[in-house]
Each structure stands twice: as C-alpha cells, then as structure tokens.
Amino acid sequence: MMRILVIEDNPSIADAIRQMLEGQKLAANVVGDGEAGLDHLLRQSYDAAIVDVMLPGMDGFAVARSARAEGVQTPILMLTARDGVEDRVKGLDCGADDYLVKPFVEEELVARLRAILRRGDRPVVAAIDVGKLHVDIGARSAAYDGKRIEFGATEFRLLELLARNAGIALSRAQILERIWDYDFDGSSNIVDVYVSQLRRKLKKFGGGSIIETVWGVGYRLTT
C-alpha cells in the first residue's frame, strides 16, 4: 500500500484528505505543522507528500525547499488557498512537483496525486550537463559556463527537453506535442518563438549557438 504524508494544519481539511486517500486505497499519515512534517519526510520513506503552504512555524515552501536540499526526492503536491501567480511560481521553484488551489474537487486531487506518483516511478535525473550547459531539473534552474540564467517555466521545459535529447534533432511536431500538448492540425510558430528566446538568453553568456536548426527537421542541442 502506498503511503502519503499529509502536512496540513486545518484538522477538518486534513481529516477529509485522509478519508479521500483511504477511499483510493492509499495510506495517509497526517501531520499538523511544518517542522514535524519535514522530520517525517527526512526520516521515513513516503510515496508522495501533500503539503499545505500556510503552516504554523515553518511554511510549506520551506518544508519543500529543506527536503529537496537534504536530497529527499519524494514527489510533493503543494496545497494552497492562494491562487496568486507569485505563489504558484514560488511553489514550483521550491521543488514541489505540482500545485493545487483550495478548495479543490476530490477527483482533481486524486488525479494530480496519481500523476506525481507515476512520475515518482521514473528514474530520477537530478541534473543534465551538456557541454557548458548545466540544467538542474530538481531546482528548475539552468546555468551556462557557470553563470545562472533565468528562464520562464515553458522556456525551462523546452531547454530540459532539448538537453534530455542532446545531440538528437527533435521535430517541431515532437516538441509541440511534448511541451504544449497541442494536437491541432496545421502549423504553429510557437516553437520557433521559444527557440529564439532561448538563444537570445544563452547568447548573453556566450551560448548563442548551442541550439542548432536542423534544416527540414527541427532543432538540436549540440553536444
């Protein structure tokens, strides 16, 4: 039976989540504050954690960040009553895998949790190095020649995809499908727009030519 750690200080919500998880044949262990939650994450092995952002003492962001800093790879689903863009980005930057706004629909909580549990099965690649390019997947940050470059969420996913397939040419259609999940017939220039943005940012650090255009195919990250 899979074990899920629930770090949530509101007892009604925590208990409801426990019931929902048990309905899915998942064992839930509920903890009411951040420090204790982090302690559980560090000492015990869980298949996933559901972490509320607003916790007494140490908040959910800090729990996720400290757990990741200690090398804990447990998938984390952040739960928050705020839907501000800043919080969303901050949650993902702290190493959370997904983000759900309260109040939530039970089916959505279950679906998101299942998705991050599946991700947990994959061998974990913490970082990819391609030449001078360093892509830190866990921390969602990238550096070229040792200098950190700020990328937007989609830009980072594209860079990660190119880095995972370094040396292999990916077609625009493949990239569209993997990053955007667009399944319409017809063409879109969105990939080219993003590639030119990536190139522009990399160029400032001398890496302007690492993404090659493969004529008639698509793009490739040079090794």
Binding site: S12, K102, P103, V193
Partner: protein, 307 residues
C-alpha cells in the same frame, strides 16, 4: 516606472534649458552688435566678436551642464517621491486581496473537502445533499477568485506573460468543453489557427472557458471556437447559434453581476472577467452577430513582437 517618470521630468527641463540658453545667446549677440555699432564692419571687430561669442557659448555650457546633472538627480528623487507611494499602495492592495482570498477560501475549503469526503460514507439519501454543499462551496470560492481578479487594475503587470499560441488555447478549451457540450446536446466546432500573443496562458484559458461556457448556455445546436491571425491582431472567436444579443445589450453583458436570464445559472462574473483579461493583455472584446445566427464574441489581442 520611476525611471520613466524621472526621464520625462528631465526631458522637459532640458527643453526649457535649451530654449533659455539659445535665448541668452541671441540676446548677448544682439547687445554686442548694437554696442559695437558700425565698427563691426572691420575684420578685426568681426574676429573679436566671433571669439567673444565663443566665450559666451563656453560660459552657457559651464552653467548648463551642472544644472542638467543636478536636475537629473532631482527629477529622480521627485519621481521616486511621487511614484513610490502609488506603488506601495498597489502592493498593499495586492497583499490585502491575497490575504482576503486566503481567509475566505480556507473555511470554504474545509466545507468543500469535508462534504466531498463524506459522500462515500453517507447514507444514500443524504449523498445528493453533500454533493450540493460541496458544489456550492466551490462556486462561492470561484466568486471570491473572480471578485479578487476584478478588484485589481487590468494591467500587464498582473499577468505572467510568455509567448502563447491561441490555437493551443482553443484546442485545450474544446477538449475541456466536450463533456459539458454533449450534456447540453450541443456540437462544438473548432478552427484553431495559429496566432501567437504575449500572454498569460492560464488567464487566456480562463477567458476561452468563460466564453465557451456562456455560448453553451445560449446555443441551440452549435458552438464554434476559433482563433486566427488578422491584420488587426490575433483573434479568438466564440460563436453560438442561439438567439443572439440585441444591439442595446451588447455593452451591458460585460458588466459584473449582469445576467441576461434570471435562471440562476452562472455567477454573473464570467464575461466581466473575460473583458478584464482582454484589457490586461492590452486587447479588446466585442460582441457581434455570428454567421451561425447567434452571438459572436471576438477577442482581439496584440501579436507577439517576435513573430
């Protein structure tokens, strides 16, 4: 914002200073000429005048340059003093909105999650009641989010922008809509044409979903959702074959809490949020008569500069 305002102050000052300097130069030149009188005709006097005027230019420059420097600093300080409180107020407003949302959503989340969790163990006769409680709490939370959105100025600063293809927004919207559409017995047609904008994908999906939900409410048989690139910009169009919206009502439908039908469906915020999202993207939304016969909502957004 501060730098822009400071630059504006400085530009105005430099213009005034330039006019004064040119005026001073012209005045000195005229006075000099009238002092010299007819003696100015000789080559020596003319050379003397040229060198004297050169001296005048140097003097004006030595006065002007430090003035520009001093005023440059002063305009930065002034702009900061004028803008900082406005930005601080905006920030306080943002924090208040976010805090208020949190305070309201936490109890709603407790109601919704307890009601949802209780469905499974509840006796069959009260299951529907738990469903209803959960749905109402979720709807209330939706209204909280909507109001908090509308309470803020629709500026690009409140968005998380990146290049977004409206064709992708349209396809995702149609995919999410299919269940609800077949429940209404309505067919969804789609024509996603590539049109790339600098936009907030989450917000644009919300815009499309709100328009689609509205169209679904009035359509008889068909809803058509499309995107295309036009010389006016990128367009996202949602049409239905319902009764349409009379000319007189076309502006009012975007007002918050305006409902065309008093049948209790919808929260009256959907189209107000559509307009807010369009404005925040520096775009527009208008209603026309659709080729299908009903209403056609046309959202026009500026094209991404890199395309």
């Amino acid at each position: 914002m501060i730098l822009r305002t400071a630059a504006l102050y400085l530009a105005v000052f430099i213009c005034v200073l330039l006019a004064l300097s040119v005026g001073a130069y012209a005045f000195v030149e005229r006075e000099y000429a009238s002092l010299m009188g007819p003696a100015l005709g000789t080559p020596e006097a003319a050379a003397g005048m040229t060198s004297a005027m050169r001296h005048v230019v140097a003097t004006i420059a030595t006065i002007d340059l430090p003035l520009v420097l001093v005023f440059g600093l002063a305009s930065y300080a002034l702009a900061r003093a004028a803008i900082a409180p406005v930005e601080a107020a905006r920030e306080r407003e943002r924090i208040f909105a976010s805090d208020a949302a949190h305070e309201l959503r936490t109890p709603l989340a407790a109601i919704a999650s307890v009601a949802q969790a209780s469905r499974a163990t509840a006796p069959p006769e009260s299951r529907a009641a738990f469903e209803e409680i959960a749905r109402t709490a979720l709807d209330a939370s939706e209204i909280v989010s909507g109001l908090l959105t509308l309470a803020r100025d629709p500026r690009p600063g409140v968005l998380q922008c990146e290049p977004v293809d409206l064709a992708g927004v349209v396809t995702a919207c149609v995919r999410d809509l299919n269940g609800a559409a077949s429940a209404h017995g309505v067919r969804v047609e789609t024509q996603p044409g590539s049109a790339i904008v600098d936009g907030d994908e989450r917000r644009l999906r919300q815009l499309a979903a709100n328009l689609a939900e509205n169209a679904l409410r009035y359509a008889r048989t068909t809803v058509r959702i499309s995107s295309l690139q036009t010389p006016r910009g990128c367009e996202l169009i949602v049409e239905d074959d319902g009764a349409g919206i009379p000319e007189a009502e076309r502006e009012r439908v975007f007002a918050r809490f305006y409902r065309r039908e008093r049948d209790g469906t919808g929260n009256g915020l959907g189209l107000a949020i559509v307009r807010w999202i369009a404005l925040a993207h520096r775009g527009t939304v208008t209603v026309r008569e659709a080729s299908l016969g009903g209403a056609s909502f046309v959202v026009t957004l500026p094209q991404h500069p890199d395309v």
